[in-house]
């Protein structure tokens, strides 16, 4: 088990560097520069900028310099936002995304697991049909539609919640609901399917045959097996949620990482792009590892070699 974890952790670093290299290549292929704007720069000014940022060097020198800095954990300064380091920007904006993402995740889990489990237990009931239709709706309505609808209802009809911007508990209610809707819907459907399958399996029948009451059967035996598909979905989903969700951050003007990342790409802000990509890839790999470890606890048949 421990050796499995160490092995997986060791692989994260070269993987992240590979991702950074590929991203660097893609950024370089994209036409345009961080300094290009509607107005052309005088040639002397452009030459000065290129010199200062080492853009006048051959590509392998630039790549070498970038890599040696990144290996030391230094992504350098943002090209667009002068005097701000990439590390500083990421750590400054991560909390916004993380708060929204984590709350959205918890809400989605709470709603999804409850609805999915009840729907599975009361298959073909009114609740089953009702909640699964709602889940279908949740899956099909994109968050850039749901967000504005919620704003219309809660900000303009009832004047209960602010329509956008960060500030206080009231400002995060709508983004969290918007964010969680699709995940809750997905989790509900996965839970329902997983639970239905498990409830029909032999070991549940055995548990019942032993004379266990329904509550114990459900909580001790069924849920663990039923959650495996949910787990493999929610692990990477949590990574994605924590690292920022572009659409929700845009609709609600939240200063999170997702927004920063998109702007960085549009601005061709290479150090910032690479920093966010490296951070995201490490985050996703770690969450995948956690999911893999968690499998072992939920399903005794899984062994780590």
């Amino acid at each position: 088990m421990l050796s499995f974890i160490i092995r997986r952790l060791l692989i994260i670093i070269p993987m992240a560097l590979l991702v950074v290299t590929l991203t660097w290549g893609l950024v370089r292929i994209a036409p345009g520069n961080f300094y290009s704007a509607e107005k052309k720069l005088p040639p002397a000014v452009e030459a000065n900028i290129r010199k200062k940022y080492g853009l006048d060097q051959p590509w392998y020198t630039q790549y070498g310099m970038m890599m040696s800095n990144i290996v030391r954990g230094d992504f350098g300064d943002s090209l667009k936002y002068q005097g701000q380091s990439v590390n500083e920007i990421i750590w400054r904006h991560l909390p916004y995304s993380a708060v929204i993402g984590l709350l959205g995740y918890l809400l989605a889990l709470a709603l999804g697991l409850t609805a999915g489990t009840i729907a599975a237990l009361k298959q073909n009931s009114g609740f089953d049909y009702g909640s699964m239709s709602l889940a279908m709706l949740g899956l099909s309505v994109p968050n850039f539609v749901l967000g504005p609808i919620l704003v219309l209802i809660f900000s303009f009809w009832f004047y209960l919640l602010p329509p956008a911007r960060w500030g206080g508990v009231s400002s995060i209610i709508l983004p969290v609901i918007t964010l969680s809707a699709i995940y809750a819907a997905y989790i509900a459907r996965l839970t329902r399917a997983g639970m239905l399958e498990v409830m029909r399996s032999d070991y549940i029948r055995t548990a019942r045959a032993k004379g266990l009451d329904e509550k114990t059967v459900l909580l001790r035996h069924a849920i663990r097996g039923g959650l495996i598909p949910v787990l493999s979905f929610t692990g990477p989903a949590l990574a994605a949620l924590l690292a920022g969700t572009v659409v929700v951050e845009k609709v609600f003007a939240i200063p999170g990482l997702g927004n920063i990342f998109i702007q960085a790409v549009l601005n061709r802000d290479e150090p910032l792009i690479l920093g966010v990509v490296a951070f995201l890839s490490i985050l996703i790999m770690i969450f995948n590892l956690i999911v893999d470890i968690a499998y072992g606890f939920l399903d005794p048949r899984i062994r780590y070699e």
Binding site: P163, V251, A253
Partner: protein
């Protein structure tokens, strides 16, 4: 089934409930757009657009930053609140040499930085030199290249010294400066800066060698000469004394004073930059000199300003603070406005689909012309549009009036310079077109049609250019036109696509030619356009940098230029040079108008529309005007708590008199009688 019934009951209730509430709120507030309550804390909340790149005014050239800089930094002059004409700021008055190439500014002696340090002429000398220094990496330096030797210093060039004398530019085909009487006391620096322009060569040895080899006369002259670096101290900026600043230009530039309100010419604090280097503009180090100072910086969320008690005119600053919110999504901005979270927002923000709704709010919606134009550039270097006839045919086939009706918030553009922005220039244009009509002996109606939409004439011209237009029923076709050699390129954006599709339809309908559309990501698009790599046509937008038609006419001046069409015409360049050397403003405008007329006859572009301001403000925000650049001098802005004094019918806001603003403006301009 029980549960389902409950759920549906809840929704039915909610649906009717919401209708009820909606009905009530909209009827109660129908005069204003959403929640309209004047903030009691006397703090204005404004959306600036994208996140500011930096708070260093030398670095960023963007509009969102310009609005913020106007609150925290000052320069010699400030934009007037209504017309953006320069009004005194730290300079309380100025004198202009008879050649319009030298300016003496008299600074007020009570201006201070936010840390209490007095502001002197030396602060301006430092700021100007820093702006032009190569390692500052300013993207706006070009605006200041009128200042003598500024361009040479910025480009790292060298003077050529032979014995005790320097080679002069005029001996090698360079510009010749008319001898100027100069103004102010005659110092050693003044003697130097008033002497004929010295020759400057590239600072890079290899490039210089190439430059010298290419010119035999130059080669002979530089033999045995010494190359002397152009230094910051050589730029035509001088602190004559603590409160007198003299600026010397390399050529007459009658619009120069108006240029000085631009962020590039605002003061930066030497004391903070020396101490903190590039980190000087962080919250903990920043020193400012505007009406407001920094209270808090929360990137991507808010920039919080408070009134600066050290500001020289603090008594005339009405707001206690400003909160700038960087928000980019237009729908979100409108939601914030409707929800009463913000009091006003930046220009070009009301979405086309919202405009009809927004226009109903007559006390709030700002629909005024802007110092900005939209047009399509031709690539005049490549066939088929290297043929002027073809360019004319395509230009005549576009109905600008229909286009601006379709866009709802724009006015049609017929030339390069927008009409309605420079009233004196509009008069000059009318006079010149009448003069030209007489010179060419054509009737007024022929001239009126020139350059305007004329489908019949367009087809005729296209046929004459060798691409016959055929009529099939009520449609036209032009089978020989090489549509595979042209495209209409624009950057990916819903509005741009709508305009492109509209114009494409016009060509199809009027000429029978279907030009393919090409949508590109912004930076990719910019590269192709700047390098004139596109085929056919490319979309262009230009916002004027200052309040003079030259900000538009200069687009096609020299080469490479910002016109991005490949157009380069020595005759046009000379017409502009001659006009700028003219000292009589009325005559200069006429000469510029002639140049513009000449340029539009070459048709390097298809004029489309004059932008509209297209923003909103709550009726209780006063002293804030829809000027042609949406650049707001914040110290005039105030919040009116008394609803009877709120703005009504915003259409009249530019002509209506606001006694408080008038008085404030009068007091400011009283020190400079000659200021326009």
């Amino acid at each position: 089934m029980m549960a389902l019934r409950k759920v549906s009951k809840f929704y039915v209730l909610m649906f009717f409930g919401s209708l009820l509430v909606n009905g009530c709120t909209s009827s109660a507030n129908s005069r204003y757009f959403g929640k309209t309550v004047a903030p009691k804390d006397n703090i204005l909340r404004y959306v600036t657009g994208s996140e500011p790149e930096t708070l260093d005014p030398h670095i960023s050239s963007g509009q969102p930053e310009a609005r913020i800089y106007m609150a925290i930094y000052e320069g010699l002059v400030e934009y007037g609140p209504k017309d953006m004409q320069p009004i005194p700021s730290i300079a309380k008055s100025w004198e202009i040499s008879s050649n319009v190439d030298e300016f003496v500014f008299h600074l007020r002696d009570n201006a201070k930085w936010s840390d209490g340090t007095p502001i002197t002429a030396n602060d301006f000398v430092y700021s100007f030199r820093r702006g032009f220094a190569a390692d500052t990496l300013s993207s706006s330096t070009e605006l200041g290249f009128f200042i003598k030797y500024a361009e040479a210093f910025n480009g790292g060039q060298v003077f050529v010294k032979k014995g005790d004398t320097f080679l002069l530019a005029k001996d090698f085909g360079g510009e010749e400066q008319k001898p100027s009487p100069g103004i102010g006391p005659d110092t050693d620096f003044h003697k130097f800066v008033q002497s004929p322009i010295r020759l400057t060569l590239d600072g890079d040895e290899k490039k210089r060698a190439k430059q010298i080899d290419a010119d035999p006369k130059l080669k002979a002259a530089v033999a045995g000469a010494e190359f002397v670096e152009v230094k910051a101290e050589d730029i035509g900026v001088e602190a004559v004394d603590n409160y007198t600043l003299r600026v010397t230009l390399r050529q007459p530039a009658p619009f120069f004073i108006g240029l000085l309100a631009h962020q590039f010419f605002r003061l930066v604090p030497k004391q903070a930059i020396d101490k903190w280097g590039k980190e000087w503009s962080r919250k903990e180090h920043i020193v400012t000199c505007g009406a407001f100072r920094i209270k808090d910086i929360r990137p991507y969320d808010a920039l919080i300003l408070e009134r600066d008690p050290n500001y020289w005119d603090a008594g005339n600053v009405h707001l206690d603070g400003i909160e700038f919110y960087p928000v980019e999504d237009n729908a979100t901005i409108l939601n914030l406005y409707k929800g009463g979270v913000i009091d006003a927002f930046l220009n070009h923000t009301v979405l086309t689909s919202w405009i009809d709704e927004a226009k109903k709010f007559k006390d709030e919606y700002m629909n005024f012309p802007e110092n900005a134009t939209a047009y399509y550039s031709f690539n005049v270097t490549k066939p088929p549009f290297n043929d002027i006839k073809l360019r004319k045919a395509f230009a005549m086939a576009v109905d600008n009036n229909a286009l601006s009706d379709f866009r709802k918030v724009t006015k049609p553009l017929y030339d390069l310079t927008p009409s309605g922005i420079f009233p004196d220039y509009d008069k000059a244009r009318a006079k010149v077109s009448e003069d030209l009509r007489k010179e060419r002996n054509v009737s007024p109606d022929v001239l009126a049609k020139l350059g305007k939409f004329d489908a019949e004439q367009a087809r005729k011209t296209l046929t004459e250019a060798g691409f016959p237009v055929q009529k099939n029923g009520d449609r036209y076709s032009c089978p020989t036109f090489p549509t595979d050699q042209v495209s209409l390129m624009f950057n990916t954006n819903e509005n741009n696509r709508a305009i492109a599709e509209f114009v494409q339809a016009q060509w199809r309908q009027n000429l029978g030619v279907t030009v393919p559309l090409k949508s590109q990501e912004f930076k990719t698009f910019l590269k192709d356009r700047h390098e004139v790599q596109y085929i056919g046509l490319a979309q262009s937008l230009w916002s004027g940098d200052y309040m003079d038609p030259y900000t538009f006419l200069g687009l096609h001046y020299g080469y490479p230029n910002n016109g991005d069409t490949g157009f380069n015409d020595p005759k046009y360049n000379k017409m502009l040079d001659d006009a700028n050397a003219e000292l009589d403003p009325a005559k200069r405008y006429e000469m510029l108008a002639r140049a513009e007329f000449y340029l539009m006859e070459q048709q390097p572009s298809i004029p489309l529309t004059i932008n509209a301001t297209n923003w909103m403000k709550k009726p209780y925000v006063k002293g804030m005007y829809p000027n042609p650049g949406t650049l707001i001098p914040w110290k005039f802005v105030y919040i009116e708590q008394d609803p009877t004094k709120w703005h009504k019918d915003i259409e009249n806001v530019m002509i209506e008199s606001d006694p408080q603003v008038e008085k404030q403006l009068q007091e400011l301009t009283a020190t400079q009688k000659a200021a326009k």
